[in-house]
Symmetry: C2
Subunit: 319 residues, 2 copies
């Protein structure tokens, strides 16, 4: 497991995006609030830009209108010629790419923090693509130190294809802050307050980094997604059972071969048949039924992260 090196320049162009999925309410209401009160996202060396990523889906209180926006930031989609019949999210992805990218270029934003909620009991989870830099590891470790009682997991998620497709992949470096459980369409004050505090901590960390703070070495457990498991279905594709009560709500806990994973409507238990322990994530997430995912499987391992020297005065200063 190797990460790209941390950039040696301060991060000045930072965006905080909410409502990439239009029924994940914390990011939606926080983004709308910050659009009215942007000073909350201001630090000495930068001001993060709040963005409501999918306004049409937000207005409809649906994950998306035509297609999943957070799967729409491929270079193919972003580079396609616009037509009047484009799906809404294709048009919106191209707009956001103009605003925050273009993806893969020097003009792209330095960092996008994309806010999400899940119906699964993930707690606080930072999701990073493997193509990101180890900046994300230092960031996660900082949040863990700031919030000692709070499990704050780091999940590596590589898209099944060869290309990244998430909103935060548009920036030079980015991360997704995922928090659950929260039902779709519901804004829980406890989850929202915690997300707001974590965003503040993340911006504080960027500020420390920009100011030239050095960070010591550490070791950290991280999870890497290695596949998914579908619900039990009939030959017609209909569900014939659901997530087993012994698995439900146990995100990030070890699942051993032989443990129950599904309860069929017939009463029968379906057991996990893998060869080794995995760590299920996004267990029974509402949006994943249509993606044929009852849960993601991850493996857990420890990484040793070397000390990060502070940015030197020869680094470019804030514009």
């Amino acid at each position: 497991m190797s990460f790209l090196p941390v950039p040696r320049e301060p991060l000045h162009r930072v965006a905080v995006t909410g409502g990439t999925h239009g029924n994940e309410m914390c990011g939606i209401y926080l983004a709308q609030h910050w659009l009215q009160a942007p000073e909350e996202l201001r630090r000495a060396s930068f001001s993060a830009v709040p963005i409501l990523a999918n306004p049409a889906a937000t207005a409809a209180c649906r994950r998306y209108v035509d297609q999943d926006l957070n799967r729409s930031f491929t270079l193919t989609i972003l580079g396609s010629t616009a037509t009047p019949n484009d799906p809404y999210e294709v048009t919106r992805a191209q707009e956001l790419n103009q605003l925050l990218g273009p993806k893969g270029t020097d003009r792209a934003f330095d960092f996008i923090l994309d806010l999400h909620n899940t119906t699964a009991n993930t707690g606080v989870c930072l999701i990073s693509e493997a193509s990101c830099t180890s900046f994300n590891l230092y960031l996660c470790h900082y949040l863990q130190l700031q919030n000692p009682g709070l499990p704050c997991r780091f999940l590596l998620y590589d898209p099944p294809g060869t290309e990244t497709y998430s909103l935060n992949s548009v920036s030079k470096n980015g991360i997704c802050l995922e928090m659950g459980p929260q039902p779709q369409g519901v804004l829980r004050a406890d989850v929202c307050t915690q997300m707001r505090a974590l965003v503040a901590s993340i911006l504080d960390f960027v500020e420390l980094f920009n100011q030239g703070t050095a960070f010591p070495a550490f070791e950290m457990d991280i999870y890497r997604c290695i596949g998914s498991v579908d619900f039990p279905r009939s030959s017609d594709g209909d569900l014939v059972g659901t997530v087993h009560p012994q698995l439900q709500d146990h995100d990030f806990e070890p699942l051993k071969p032989g443990d129950p994973i599904f309860k069929l409507f017939s009463g029968e238990d379906i057991l996990y048949e893998g060869d080794s322990i995995v760590y299920p994530v996004f267990i029974n997430e509402a949006a994943y039924y249509e993606k044929r995912v009852a849960f993601l499987k991850s493996e857990k391992f420890q990484v040793s992260v070397p000390a990060l020297p502070g940015l030197t005065s020869s680094s470019p200063v804030a514009p």
Copy 2:
């Protein structure tokens, strides 16, 4: 508070409906299961008919397609002349009225049990319109005795207008079984298993009633909906806060004047300004944001229910 007298005839024509709202998953999957395995709904004196009430909304995993089906069973809608431009749920309500009604006639089903889920922490709740008979009280008391550890509340809900509009209002007598919390679009095995057992108990009770069982007198706490409270909003109608953490998840618990009900994004608490204790229900239900309802207010009172003699042999027998 007075209820109509219990019918003195056995209930032979019974339906169990799920998916009246297409993203409340327990009733959907139970109805689909029973359509394949109807023997589970069979008792000696009757067989309940399973019905998937809103197939189009279920396929889209949305509460409704064009309008809320469970607000569409007014005599005005049911009696209107069908046109090709009718909203989907108007057409479907008329179809269900032909199948289970016509509402208000002797040909209507004796009993409809309509299955619902909520994102609110209601636990198990039976919702009855005041126009129903006291049969529903005996039924609720039976469930309470069968499940001593389980709060099983009885909520009287009178529609704000003068006319009933729910699916179960099509039958001569009916009730809604509401269970939460469960996110929209998610099927939790624990909630589903409990709903399935409660439906079995309800059918058992109907069977006991049909067989001529007498039921002793009892006293019971019931809740009556007396109004609703909207979220705090800006002059544009946007939310400026959400349900206070001290109120969230406390359905059916007393709310006193001066207790906090909302937390504004500014940090300020909004306190309850009523004159007396109320019992909030459906706190932060996802589907009620668009209805401008943060929670319903109910009052709690005790009813004394007299003994119910068994149906005599002079009552009509099973056909």
